[in-house]
Structures are given as C-alpha cells and as structure tokens.
Symmetry: D2
C-alpha cells in the first residue's frame, strides 16, 4: 500500500500514520519528494485493506500495490486451468467447447430435438434454464424441477454435459442431482450467499460477469468460490452495460486477453447476451474465438417466434450449424481446435 | 406495442404478423406510410411482452407503448405512499427522515454510543449491517445474529426504528425478529429470490438501486415486491457506475424527480455510497433534500480510522450533527420539514 | 511517479529503470517489499509523464503521484476565483448568478421579449446560440452573425452580460465584437485548437464538461486556457453520458463539491441539458444550488412548442420566475445570495 | 414519428396535435387503445424532428420511426462502398488494409525506418500524427508541417498511402498538400466545423468514433461529411469510455457487425487505442478481422521506451510482422484476403 500525503501534512500527522503501521506489524518507508511525501507500507497488504488510511489526517490518497485476489491469479498458478465438466468433456485446454441450447427449457420434446441438432453441429454441452431471473415478475419464470429433469434426461441420452442457472442458495441440493455445471448469472455475480454455497461443493461453476462489474470484480467473485475450496470455475464474458443502445449489451472483447493475463481460469464468451440480436451473434462468436476464448455459450431455438424468453437473440439450428463450421476455421487459424 | 416493418417487408410477412395478433386475441392497426409500414397492437401489452416480435420476418423494430410496471406507478396510485417503519415513524410524507449509523455493527457499546448521538442530532432510524456483502472474501463479513441483537436492543432503548441488510433468503426469519426494515442492497437489486421473499412479508423494505440499473429496472424490482403483496417499499438512490473515478459512484440526482413522476413510492438518497468520501457527503445530502427526496441514509462512525468497513465515507458525529442543522434549513426552503 | 515491478523482474531490469531516472535528472528510491519492489521517482513529474515507463521490461504498473493540472488547482491558488463577466456582474463570489435565455437566438423581438422576463426574474446573464452544433446536418444551424447582433443589442438594452457558443476558431474575432463570454460546448471540450484560441484572449470563457469527460479531463482542458494566459474561466457541469435513458444526460451533482475541492475556478450547473426535460429542471436547479454551485444556466423560451431547438427542455418564463424564487430560498439556506 | 398520449389527455389536446400535423402538411393517424391513444404521423419525418412534440400538452412520449441518417445508410445504397485512398490502394472490398506507423511523427529517419518494416510486413497505409490532440497542454504537440513533409516523402518513396489527423479547420489546405487521407479523431467526431470542411473536399476521410458516441451518433457525423458531397468516408471503431479501468478504452466489437448492417461505409478497427496496452493488441486485432472489419489501424514504434506519445500501446516491428501473419490466417478463415 502506498500513501501519498497532502502538501500541507504535518510531521505529527506523518508520525501518526507511521505508528499505525507499527501497530499493524508493518514497516513504513518514507520518501520525501519536492512536492509530496510518500509512505510505502511493507508487509502483508491484506491487513491494510480494511484500514481506511484515506481518513487519517494529512492523507491525500492511497494506492494498493497488490491485486486483491490471490487464488485466481496467474501469479498463484502459472499454467492454464482445465476444468472437467463431465467425463471426457473439458474446458480450458487446446480444444474449444460450445454450450448451446434454448434460453429456457420449455418441454422435453423440444429440448431433445434442439439438443440433437446442436450436438450434431459440434456442441458438447447443453444449456437451458429452469429457474429464470426475469426483470418482470409477470414474465415466464421457468419450469423449475420439471425442467431440470428434462435436461438431465436429454444430457444422458446424448452424452452431453449440462448447465443450468442457480438463483437461490436453497436450490443447490435439488440442482446437484440434475446438472453437471452450475451457472451463476450476471445479476448474481455479487450474490455472495450463492457464491459461498457453490464454493462449498466440488461441481464446476460458470460465473458470468455482472453488467457493471469490472474484470477485477469478476475475479474477486471467482476468488470467493476458490477460497471456499472449489477450483472448478469457468468465467464468462457476456457484455457490460454502457450508453450504447444499438445492442442489448456491449460485449467487452478486451476481457478475453485481460483475463488470460491476470488469471489461470478458462473464459467463455456469450455472444447471445453480449449482443441481444441473433443477426450479430455469428460475427461476435467468430471474434471471440479469434481473441482467444476457451468456449462459447450460444442460445439456439427451433422456433424463436414461439420462444418463451430471449427469442430475439436465439439462432435457429441451421444457422448454428453453419456458424460452428466457420468457428472451426477461425479456431484453426489461431492454433486451437473445435472438434 | 408498435411494430415497424422493414422497407422491403412483403405483404405475406405483414399478414403473418397480423395473424399472430389475432391468435393472441389482439387487434392490429396497420398504417402504411411513405417509407415504412407501422402496426399498432391494440389490447393488453403483457401478452406481447413475451412474444419476440423482433424475430418475425420483415420486422425492423418493436417499441413498447406501456411501462412494464403497474403497481408501483403513479398511474396506479396518484397520491404519495407513506410507509410506517415503526409506530410514529413514517417516511413519504411532509417530514423527511434520516437513517444513520455505522456501516457495520461492530459491538454493543460502540453502536449505542453513536446511536445516541445521531438520535440527538435528529435521526429516527438506526442503520447498521450484520451481514456484509463484501467484494473480497477476506474482508470482515459482519457479526451476524450477534449484531442483530445489538441493533434491536439499541433501537428499543432509544425508540428508533432499525434497518439492516438482508443478503440471503434463508435469513429472513432470523432478521424478522430483530429489525423494523429490511434493506435490499444494490448488489441484490435483481436477486429475485430475495425480492419474492420480502414480498411475501408485510415488513417495510428499502430497495437500493443497482449500480448498473436504470430507473425502470429499479421500479421493476420494486414491482416484484408489490406483486407479492407487500406495498411497504422505499426506494433508494445510492449512485450508479460510470466512467468517473473521482468518486466511488456517480450519485444520480435526476433519479429523485424522475421517480417522483413515475411512482408513488418514497425515495431515499444515500450520499455516503453515492460519493464514497465523507468530505462530499454534506454537499450531496443538501442537494438531495433540495431535489425533493423523502429521506437520507448516512453512515456515521465515532472513529472512522478504526471502522471495520467504509471508514472513508463515514461522518464523525459532530459533522453529522452540524449537517442535520443545515439540512433542516434546506428542507424548510423547499417546503418540507425535518424534525 | 511510482513504478511497481512484476514479481519476476530481474536485477538488470531494475537497473535499467534506475538508469533511466538518472538520465532524466531524477532520483529513484527503491523499496523492496516481500511481494513487490517499488520505485519512487523523486523530481519533477512532468518529465516522466511523457516517458512510457509501462513498457520498460519488468514493470507491472505505473502510478502518478501528482495531478497533471497546476494553474487550475487549489494548490496553486487557495482562494476562490471571481470572474467578472461585465462591469458589475461577477461569478464565483457569495452571490449566485443565473444565465438564462433561449437555446437558439431565433429573432430580435423574441429574444428581447424573453430577455426582459428572465431579467425581471433575476437573471443577469443572457444566453442564446448563434452557431448551433447539431447532431444532424439537416437541423437548424443557427442565425450566425445576425443572431450575435441581436444578443448584443438586447444585452446592451437590458444591461445584461451575454454568452454564446463558439464552435470554430475562425469565428473568434467575429464573436469578440458581440458577446461578453465565450461558451465552449461539451462536444468541443477537447477541441484543443479552440481552447488555445480563447486562451490567447482575456475574455471570460465558460467551459462545459464533455459527455464522457472525467472531472480531471475537464480540469486539464481548463488548464489549456489558463496556460495560454487567460485565467477568466468558469466550469460548467451539464450531465455526462451513462446507461440511464430516462433522462437525456445524467447530471453529475458530485462534480460540484469535487471541483470545489480540487480547483479555485467557479462552477455553474446546467440543469436543462443535465436532464433534457423541463419538468425536471426545477428539482435539479434547486439541488445544484444546495450542493454549492456558483451559478446556473437555464434554457427559457416563451413558446417551447415552436422552439427551433431544445424545446423539450426549455422552461416558460412563468415557471422560470417561480423557480428563481425557490432558488433564492435555497441559496439563503446554504449561506449564499441570489439577488 | 409516433406520439403516445398520456392516459389523461383530453380530446382538445388530441385535436391540438392533429392540427399541428395538418399545418406541417402531414397526416395524423389516431389509434385509440384501451390504455393509451397513439398518433402516427405520416409524411416526411424530417419536418417533425425539429418540432418538439414532447412539450405539447397531453403527450407522454415521442418515438421516431426512421433513422435520422440517410446517405450513409444501407437503405440508400445496398452495396458496400469501396474507397480509393491512392492509386491501387482501396478499402472496403474483399481485401483488408492495414494502417500502421508511429503515434507521432518524430523525425524523417525514424519514420522511414519503421515504415519500411510495416510495409514489408503487409501494411499499405502509413499513419503518423503531426498535430497531436493531447489531454495536457504541457505534452508534446507534434512536429506540425515538418512532420507532414516527412510523411509525404516516406509515403512517396515506399508507395504507401498516408494518413494524418486534422484538428483545426484552418489547417486543411496545408494538409491537403501532404497526405492522402484526413483523419478526424475521436475528440473531434462532433466538431462540426471540421466535418463540414472535409465534407467540402473529395479526399478520403477516416472518422473515428467519439469516446461517448453511440453508433448512431457516429453515422450522423459521417452524414455531415456525405451531405456536403464527400462520399469517401471510412469509419473507425477505437473504443468507448466505460467504467472498466483495466483497459484504456472498451473496444466495442459489436460496432463492426452493427455498422455493416446499417451502413455501406467501410469500417476500420484501432486495437491500439481500443485497448491502450500493446500486450492486448494482437488478440483484439485478430478478433476485429474475424468480426468482419475492412481494415486495422495499429501503432508501431521501433523503440516504445523513447516514443514521444502512446508508447505503452505501440507494437515493436517484429511483433507487428508476426501479427500480420496471424491476421492473414484469420482473414482467410472468414473469407477475406490480406495481401
């Protein structure tokens, strides 16, 4: 931690801060410049994070030296993490993975039908929501456990891994029986009760970036999960909220290489939510692969006109199949594989 | 709902959309302009909200006519709502209310001491967190039930209403015993499991605006609570996330008059989180009162240097007392009272 | 400037950076912590600002210690600046000033008529655009010199100071003849050719904050003007661009106390652009005065239905007159005067 | 234009609006729904854009039907525009183009040296600034005309097209002699004096998106140039300003497919400014090509440690050469060529 003093800070104020360092078991290095005096605190920065040095008299500003996350950092683990979702289905290695399926699970037959098509196209992971976090209380809230049963059956039949969103810590035992991966949605990225809950399991978790979360915030939320003992975490960039209204969200493509520099965790991109319009999904999916992501999550529906949620951003299976072919070419161009 | 067709939309595509309206029991009014054909759907818009008209062939864009919220709207109820927090302590009427206290409850003695001072200055509501949603898993997470006991005792002793944050739906019965008002924090504004839970009670709820939530999103989250039967809802503006880094958040003062136009619910402003720096709290608190808010939530700590959280934005009691005097003058200047 | 090294930085990389400091005539203080080595550069920071220390091998991050602005800072001048706009009309002292008038100058008669009313209500400064920066090339672009003549005549007749926007450095001599204050609009806040041009005069300049400008950016643009010799600068907060769509812009009320802490320059608030809707202007104008601004700029039009620009955010004179009365009460409540 | 009335709008208010339409020579179609009455205005929407229907009594909201731009739209011209920058060097067709070179022109020798390397790697367009728009008045402002001479000489010698930024309308004749393409920078995207000036020429213009400009704003600024007669316009996405601080800007990759849908103009991506860090440039350049851009603008410097501006985001020539090879593979994977 570095503390910069105000130009009018007194010697007594300086002493008061140095004494504080002492009490905390840290060493304070004082550098007196022409215009400002600077104090470097040497020792474990965690102790300082909870000490509001900004309010000490004479302090102008405080700057942390270390990132506040540890277990998720590249510094903690140099090699890329590879997370196994189901026997034989891994994410984070050379092979890219695609998660595809409808926004909401709407019935067994429709799920099976679309799952067969996305599987044939190249997706190994089936997505589908059973508990839907909807902005309006009057919108379709999902089929609940019935939906979970369908996704489990279809996943088993087609040998696909399955992922569904968890929105309530009380549902974790229920969901544990039915899916291979817990999804934590953007709106719950800082729902710490939920993060602790999935952190106490060993099941893979896909953590989506919140709409106003910095990359650092995303990594801190992942740190919650790892700090409870669960290292099977996949990050997901799905767009942030900006002033632009031409798209539902602004997909932050920069997040892909930034996360790769800062963390060992795999990162998936969701171009469906990242754009909100099916006509843009292909372009952004290709971009994400070229940028170096480890996988994609794409909404696919056989009849978007009748979809109970997110119809506007869902691809029809034919378009999805064509897109995966293009993605394969892009993956190869950047030294990855999409089987 | 208004649907605008693309310039190259065919008659068949138009017919397909009109038939859809028919199936839904709605009437479609078609206006053919020089450059665009427009279709107005007459009938309950709710039916349409879940129908993704954007994906119908030939459609260029879709525009809703009605706001998606109902119970929270001025249209539903013309007069301002007044919420009673505790016998004799109301919010939403001519009298402004101040909620004050430490960010986290740190102990019985310190809470009682600061509570006496804020009460003497003019605050009728005691705030203090027992379960803290912290960005870092390594930071102080609150005293839990122990903290709730303290706030209940202090509130009873000083005849103040009490408010504390609820972050887990499983804690609701526990908290019900101890506090007068549930606070839903910014990070949980779209934690729908939590919203439904507090909606099923009759206890007052203060709902804070999420960091990336539009005012419409805030009203939709409030709608969740009212739609479950609990009309005792207070909204809270506490700053949104923007590109500005000089302050912790950007307090959206516009939200005060906008909410007053759109909704009958009371609105409180939190200048502590809205700025993140105690030196700015006074200026923004005065502005909020002048803008027409119904109350303020302000963090106060007797020794910010030792605060376990949010020390940088906490006022010391002397500054708080001086501020309340100023706020009284501003309140009177705009036709309100602060007792 | 503080440089933080990567954990794997070598001794040679450290030496290379220290040598760089030497070459620049600076002293490098090295602090070796447990997890990171930190280098403080002692000496004039300006030299370093242009040196991209981030690209030196082994560097993790670079943090400036000093603010990049000087002449505009409180550190440079402790007392508030008072800018004289015209004999007897000053801004920045105890008395608040109001700038009012139409968005665009539309004719002599209409300007005179509205000017009389705003003057009677309490405004000493007449605003009106002659060159309009419009988003669309097909919209009304202003009356040009004709408009400037009208504002000069009306200002002289009513003894009001006058302000109009300058959008082209080639117009400065022309405008110099007609108005008392140059306005630099939000879209031109970083039009450095324009800033240098007004910096080379002695005429007062009102500099509006850009839609995506931080407060630091605003101060740096002001620094351009002061650094050329013109200290008669007034800052103006007029709303920033955020994700919120309920208002045209998000007025950043925090900017008022932040600017007051960092700079000696006066700050004016423009609630017309800051909200974009006349129904919100009153509430935000009151808030701005309570927050501590030195003046307001408000659009007033006698017949907003026929206004050639910004009709939606213009007050009619009766509402303006009523508002000024309220503002007087608020000003007094916070120790200021509005004559 | 569609006008939605308030639920309490009177018949007289409705009549007043319909009469207004009449006066403007438009037809008003009135649809009375259960909850709202809607008025569609049939006829040229331009007439209405300047009429502030929002302020008519009884109006709740106003929604435009048509985009405000015309000449830049896909509707105006279906086929992609191809802009010739210099004999044999075109942008907008199947072949991608790369603009590369230093941020600022620093001298003849250094420019020639880096230009040879980027040309050998595959760049046909040489970039370099002679007039630099710097946030600080104390930073290097460019070599001016001297720099322009260098870029002209080097461009002629290597048969590269040249591009440099224009920041003052008074410099246009000067620059006309020296460069093949005018660059309008992000800070000047709404400098309408400058836009009109380049619109009156026939020389190609690259228009960069402003930091807080929506895609619609960008297209409107391009419309300024086309409306003056110059159709040789290239758009450039270079990152927008958001709350994320890990990168200098947030490159909006969605802008690439959105612009392709809405406009016939070519679009270039600038990953150097879009990220602000050279270590991220490669990943984002690959993503941009995969997303479907028509070209890239990349900063390259032989010795970033000594660069007079933007050193942190400049690639060294070896990295640039390696990157172009990768880009070639990605281009081919998406059906484009990079020669």
């Amino acid at each position: 931690m570095i503390v910069i003093l105000r130009p009018d800070a007194t010697e007594e104020q300086l002493r008061h801060i140095v004494e504080k360092a002492d009490k905390l078991g840290l060493t304070a290095h004082v550098s007196r410049g022409v215009e400002r005096t600077i104090i470097g605190f040497i020792g474990p920065e965690d102790i300082l994070r909870v000490t509001p040095l900004e309010v000490f008299p004479g302090v102008e500003s405080v700057m942390p030296v270390l990132a506040p996350y540890k277990l998720v950092s590249r510094e903690f683990q140099k090699e890329d993490s590879v997370v196994e979702l189901k026997k034989g289905i891994e994410i984070g290695g050379k092979n890219l993975q695609i998660m595809a399926g409808p926004c909401s699970i709407e019935g067994y037959d429709s799920l099976l039908s679309v799952a067969k098509k996305v599987k044939a196209a190249g997706a190994n992971i089936l997505r589908g929501g059973a508990f839907k976090p909807r902005t309006s209380p009057y919108d379709f809230q999902g089929l609940g456990e019935e939906g979970l049963k369908y996704i489990k059956e279809v996943g088993a039949e087609l040998e696909m891994a399955t992922i569904a969103e968890l929105i309530d810590p009380r549902d974790i035992e229920l969901m544990d029986k039915y899916v291979d991966v817990y999804q934590i949605g953007a709106r719950n990225m800082q729902n710490f009760a939920l993060l602790k809950e999935v952190g106490a399991t060993k099941k893979p978790v896909m953590l989506k970036r919140g709409m106003s979360a910095t990359i650092k915030d995303l990594l801190m939320s992942a740190e919650y999960i790892l700090s409870k003992g669960n290292f099977n975490v996949i990050l997901c960039e799905r767009g942030i909220r900006t002033f632009e209204t031409a798209t539902r969200n602004t997909l932050d493509i920069n997040a892909v290489p930034v996360v790769k520099q800062l963390s060992h965790l795999p990162i998936v991109v969701d171009p469906s939510h990242g754009t909100g319009r099916w006509g843009l999904v292909g372009s952004i999916a290709r971009a994400a692969v070229a940028a170096g992501c480890d996988g994609l999550m794409i909404e696919v529906h056989e009849n978007p006109e009748e979809a109970l949620s997110d119809g506007a951003q869902s691809l029809v299976p034919e378009n999805f199949t064509a897109l995966v072919k293009e993605l394969r070419a892009v993956a190869r161009a950047v030294g990855r594989e999409l089987l």
